[in-house]
């Protein structure tokens, strides 16, 4: 059993890592009262940005490139939604299409029609000395890539920032009532710009992690709905940082389940496992109705 369980849990953490980056960024964006449905476009931009930058300067530069690509996409979203007052849902949809289209075009432009960047640099898992030799926990939690370890630091930091700092409080105030926050002297648009851009950086890191730490190459449309899944993760995590990180684990498990069941020799069609994360998203969103504590300013979008 353990021979199956450890690879499954290991894959769960590995696939949950990029999801957690995107979802944590979206938590911050949504707590400011804006839903960014264009996260999918941001992630795929991060994938290609990460690939190209890593090709030029190695993995570290790759992650910076992914973050930058996400930042630029998010800036476009913020420009339309905050400055031009365009509808957030439609803008987000356009952002997704833009991301998928631009990355497809650029990828074939840069790498030719045959594609295949075989020499993609990637980062390998690092076993943390001491911790990694713990039974079960060691190989699962402490034999991961740097990006996972960064999350272990980021989650408590972000939770503290949102709950305890002045800007964190201001952000949550805007999400509950934009007008009240404005009346209290909070620079609503400036903080929303910050929240959207942070979501962009995190979405871009999600993409770069996907390419450089998980898949090891780029394919067109490889974000495969992760942006929308991340939005569902935020709902499942009830717009809280720690809850969102745990919800990301659940979805990591849904993606990893195919490895487990294949290894266990189940004769189900593999397309069922391909569909599983999407089915899970639908079912969980339906099941969580009413129990979720959405920021009030999102109410217009969340029905």
């Amino acid at each position: 059993m353990e021979a199956l369980l450890i690879p499954f849990l290991d894959a769960t953490i590995r696939t949950a890592t990029p999801l957690a980056y995107a979802a944590l960024g979206e938590v911050v964006t949504e707590r400011s009262g804006v839903i960014n449905i264009g996260l999918e476009g941001i992630i795929i931009a991060g994938c290609l940005g990460g690939l190209i930058a890593a090709g030029a300067g190695g993995p570290t530069v790759g992650f910076l490139g992914g973050a930058l690509a996400g930042l630029l996409m998010a800036a476009l979203f913020a420009l339309f939604v905050l400055r031009l007052k365009a509808d957030a849902i439609i803008t987000g949809t356009a952002l997704t299409l833009l991301g998928l289209g631009v990355t497809g075009t650029l990828y074939r432009g840069v790498f030719g029609l045959e594609g295949a960047a075989l020499g993609t640099p990637s980062i390998a898992p690092v076993a943390l000395p001491g911790l990694s030799s713990l039974p079960l926990v060691g190989p699962v939690f402490f034999t991961q890539t740097v990006m996972t370890y960064l999350l272990y630091l980021l989650v408590p930091l972000l939770a503290w920032w949102l709950a305890r700092t002045h800007t964190g409080l201001a952000l949550r105030a805007i999400g509950e009532s934009r007008t009240a926050a404005h009346a209290a002297g909070i620079a609503v648009d400036r903080i929303r710009w910050g929240a959207i851009l942070f979501g962009g950086v995190m979405g871009g890191l999600c993409g770069a992690t996907l390419v450089l730490a998980q898949v090891g190459t780029f394919t067109e449309g490889m974000s495969a709905g992760r942006g929308f899944i991340a939005i569902a993760i935020v709902v499942l995590g009830r717009w809280r940082v720690v809850g969102t990180a745990l919800a990301a684990l659940l979805f990591g498990g849904a993606f990893a389940l195919q490895y487990l069941l294949q290894a266990a020799g189940w004769a189900l069609p593999y397309q069922l496992f391909l569909a599983l994360p999407y089915l899970l998203t639908l079912v969980l969103l339906a099941a969580l109705r009413g129990r979720a504590e959405a920021p009030a300013e999102l109410a217009s979008h969340e029905g």
């Binding site: 849902i89 803008t91 495969a224 999407y278």
Partner: protein, 322 residues
């Protein structure tokens, strides 16, 4: 650059073959899909699941065509083709119905549910062409060619323009009359403009109207899928849609959700798709560039209309979505 643009123009309008067998053939699904998206948006339903509804329509139409072909004797064309259209439309409507149901029963935002259903539809088609609907030799991930009577008639000898295009035009015409001249159309527009006003001042059953529009929107997309199998591909395979369902959003927005203008904007995007594949072939420019143009059109329409709502209805404002 000029070489690429020339290739684009030639591929779209450069010859009678380009017009009647490329541009208009690619416009056919966009007519129905764009209309479906526009109707939904008109009622404030953000159905971006046209892609999945299209795929489900294509799967079901293939299945019914194959099973009628294997019934022995020749089931005549006059029976098979309407059955394909009907079954395709029903499949599209059911797929949209799932999103409508989880929206009304559980409050799940349809933007997310329809996208999730798109991915589930993709997984379904992937399974179908390797499982129940795979061709008899079981080598290729695609269905066998649908039998002769299930192949939709061409409109012009020697050209590939098929019956689906006419159905698309008719659908746009009917939708235009219904939206502007009937009580049903008034209800749809009222619900899209303001759900609260439609309920309190208009005495309109909002939930029922929204549900019916969602279903009709899905039926349009499913019908488009049936027409694509019957009129163009004659078989089912995974890449049957080059993202038509997403292009349809741009078709609808560029037409400002007006059924008449859908015809113009569907032909515009059909020409773009046709030209882009010629451009890829002749000038080596990847055809995904169309998706970039689609996104820029949507952003352009958004920037142009600012908060004021597309097509005169407050459809896309937040208030309508409550």
């Amino acid at each position: 650059m000029t070489e690429a643009l020339l290739a684009l123009w030639d591929g779209a309008f450069g010859s009678s073959y380009a017009i009647w067998s490329a541009t208009l053939v690619r416009s056919a699904p966009l007519l129905l899909l764009g209309l479906g998206v526009a109707l939904a948006f008109r009622a404030g339903v953000l159905n971006i699941g046209a892609e999945g509804q299209f795929l489900m329509g294509a799967i079901s139409a293939t299945a019914i065509a194959q099973s009628m072909g294997s019934m022995g004797g020749a089931v005549p064309r006059i029976v098979v083709i309407p059955m394909m259209a009907l079954v395709g439309a029903l499949a599209g409507a059911s797929w949209a119905g799932i999103a409508a149901w989880v929206r009304q029963r559980f409050g799940v935002l349809e933007v997310i549910s329809t996208i999730m259903l798109n991915f589930i539809a993709l997984a379904s088609i992937s399974w179908m062409v390797r499982g129940p609907l795979q061709e008899p030799t079981r080598i290729y991930p695609q269905s066998a060619e649908i039998p002769g009577p299930a192949q939709w008639p061409f409109l012009i000898p020697g050209q590939r323009l098929h019956l689906g295009f006419v159905i698309g035009l008719l659908a746009c015409g009917i939708a235009w009359v219904v939206l502007t001249r009937t009580a049903i159309g008034f209800r749809i527009r009222a619900v899209g403009a303001s759900r609260s006003a439609a309920t309190s001042a208009g005495g309109i059953a909002v939930a029922g109207t929204v549900l019916r529009v969602f279903l009709v929107s899905g039926a349009c997309a499913g019908l488009a899928g049936a027409a694509e199998v019957g009129g163009v591909t004659w078989a089912l395979y995974e890449g049957i849609s080059p993202g038509y369902g997403y292009t349809a959003i741009a078709v609808a927005l560029l037409a400002r959700l007006h059924p008449g203008w859908i015809i113009v904007s569907a032909i515009f995007f059909g020409a773009l798709e046709a030209g882009a594949s010629a451009m890829q072939r002749d000038a080596g420019i990847p055809s995904v560039v169309v998706q970039v143009i689609v996104a820029l059109v949507i952003l352009g329409v958004l920037a142009g209309s600012q908060r004021r709502v597309i097509a005169g209805a407050a459809t896309l404002g937040a208030e309508a979505r409550r």
